[in-house]
Subunit: 337 residues, 2 copies
């Protein structure tokens, strides 16, 4: 399998991207294509690695920054690591693309340069959120801020395929994020979406509430991108706030410091459970290729895990299965008015 890596994207680029890619190529036997400034990339590759047939450098001279207008940047910076990486997938020279760069550019670029799976109206950005029972895919978290009910149905189908194929969950439980569990609850979008999900060939468990996501009430949490973004960021924010507040409590006195020391291992295990670097990146499902958006603050381990995730999508034929399921479901975009 050949994976293109945006070597210039992310807070710790190119170091984390390059080192993560090299680690992954060794651990998972994938061929990696590091896209970016050759000179910068080579700083983090040993002489021995340079000789490996599994590690390639593809020169790209421009970089897209987080504060640029995504569509403008994709259209104008044709030699950026993002655009060159996306083109490798478009031209079938690579099977997947992994980037920790600008989320907006990643989304816009995937749509413009690689394109959608036939039948999908709106691809969904879909990270895995850690829960008490494992993880839950939230789809969409920001690619589509104004959705139609049929978009929600397509998100549900794609999320189910991912959780079944990649995570090995038989009949993944699909929940519709809502403000109450009763069928009658919600806004116009969720009320209509509920009807479509109920009729679909899915393990739809009904409405779910935000408070139950981290408890593990469902395997796929379907929502429009605005709401999903708020959910994701509040989970991130509260977890960070709680950890920081806890740290402050622990540093208050000798007694509490001693207590914290005794709990160290447990706290580490615990923090690990809420650690995004463990789960890899967010696949952008619905694009006609394997696209993984790694967190902007990804370190080496996070990049390695994102590459591992791309391999799982590839090995388990996730894109092909989504294509089939959408066609079988009859919600392909040819129905759209």
């Amino acid at each position: 399998m050949r994976i293109a890596i945006d070597a210039m994207g992310g807070d710790f680029a190119p170091k984390a991207a390059v080192e993560g890619a090299i680690e992954a190529s060794k651990a998972y036997g994938v061929e990696v294509f590091l896209v970016g400034l050759k000179e910068e990339i080579e700083k983090y590759i040993t002489e021995e690695d340079k000789k490996s047939s599994h590690i390639n450098i593809i020169e790209a001279t421009e970089i897209i920054n987080a504060d640029e207008s995504p569509v403008h940047a994709i259209k104008n910076k044709k030699d950026s690591s993002m655009v060159v990486g996306l083109k490798l997938v478009k031209d079938r020279q690579c099977d997947a693309f992994v980037s920790a760069g600008s989320t907006g550019a990643f989304l816009a670029g995937s749509l413009l340069k690689v394109g959608r799976i036939k039948g999908i109206d709106r691809p969904g950005l879909s990270p895995l959120v850690p829960t008490m029972k494992g993880s839950c895919m939230v789809i969409d978290v920001g690619a589509n801020v104004d959705c139609k009910p049929r978009n929600l149905l397509q998100f549900a189908i794609m999320g189910s395929v991912y959780m079944e194929k990649v995570m090995g969950i038989k009949g993944p439980r699909v929940g519709l994020l809502n403000i109450g569990t009763e069928e009658s609850k919600g806004n116009e979008l969720t009320k209509e979406g509920y009807k479509l999900l109920k009729e679909a060939n899915l393990n739809f468990i009904g409405n779910v509430e935000a408070r139950d996501i981290t408890e593990g009430v469902c395997d796929v949490c379907v929502c429009d991108g605005f709401v999903g973004n708020v959910l994701l960021k509040s989970i991130e924010g509260v977890a960070a706030t709680v950890f920081n507040a806890l740290k402050n409590e622990f540093m208050k006195s000798f007694k509490t410091k001693l207590g914290a020391l005794l709990l160290k291992g447990g706290l580490r295990d615990f923090k690990k459970r809420f650690d995004y670097t463990e789960v890899g990146g967010a696949p952008f499902l619905g694009i006609d290729g394997i696209m993984i958006k790694a967190h902007g603050s990804s370190d080496t381990k996070a990049i390695r895990n994102a590459i591992r995730q791309a391999k799982l999508l590839y090995d388990n034929h996730c894109v092909e299965t989504i294509r089939e399921e959408i066609l079988n479901s009859g919600v392909d975009n040819e129905n759209e008015q």
Copy 2:
């Protein structure tokens, strides 16, 4: 000041409601009107309390349950503790109403029985969320699931009045909950809402992200009720999940148990900070009266704090100020098409 209490609402009614009301009447010198089944209420009142001129019982023979259709229940159960309590405010026999009962019935009943402040299109349910710096009012969290931009502006005005008058914050920082901080971000609603907020006479700090709310980035967080509900419940859910996971870690071995023992005081202080019983209830701002929705699982302390909050609204002329500010702002509902 006279406060009506729904003695039959909430998971621990009537005990928590009655005991909380008696405690509050003693602590804050308010006159309380306990509405519900006389016989049930009297079980929790001592002979001495019964003689107090500050504690009154208003008989109401029906109870509205959480699973009833709110509008139907309000219209049909005319002798319920909820409807009788609301009527006490409507008829100006009481200055405020506090209930831990069905949220849906509380919202529908407030609108139908008490009515809106002149100029307000949509009242907003607006709890205080604990943050690292104090608390943040989130408005709305579920009363209005499909909002218009002008609703957001009215929420912002009402929230600002509350935080200034009741919490004593000069020029409260108003943030618009969005998926990014740039002005161009968001869905149709927030893009239009942004323009209105920017022009208003408010300390508008721009868009805020969900991850920054618990850090204390703003004093008033404005959002439509669907999104606010998701935000609130995910904060609740993650905090609960983290505390439970932590507890499990602490019980793993003798060493960790000892560590937890040494940290006990700190952990208690910490948990207290995220404890809803400390902040009281959620005011339903925009109703022409002081309406406090206490959490369904309110204990005695939570009810007492909700009554204290009602008194603060009263003492600081919050309803009157909202009325004036809405008229001054020119966004009163007479402009609506």
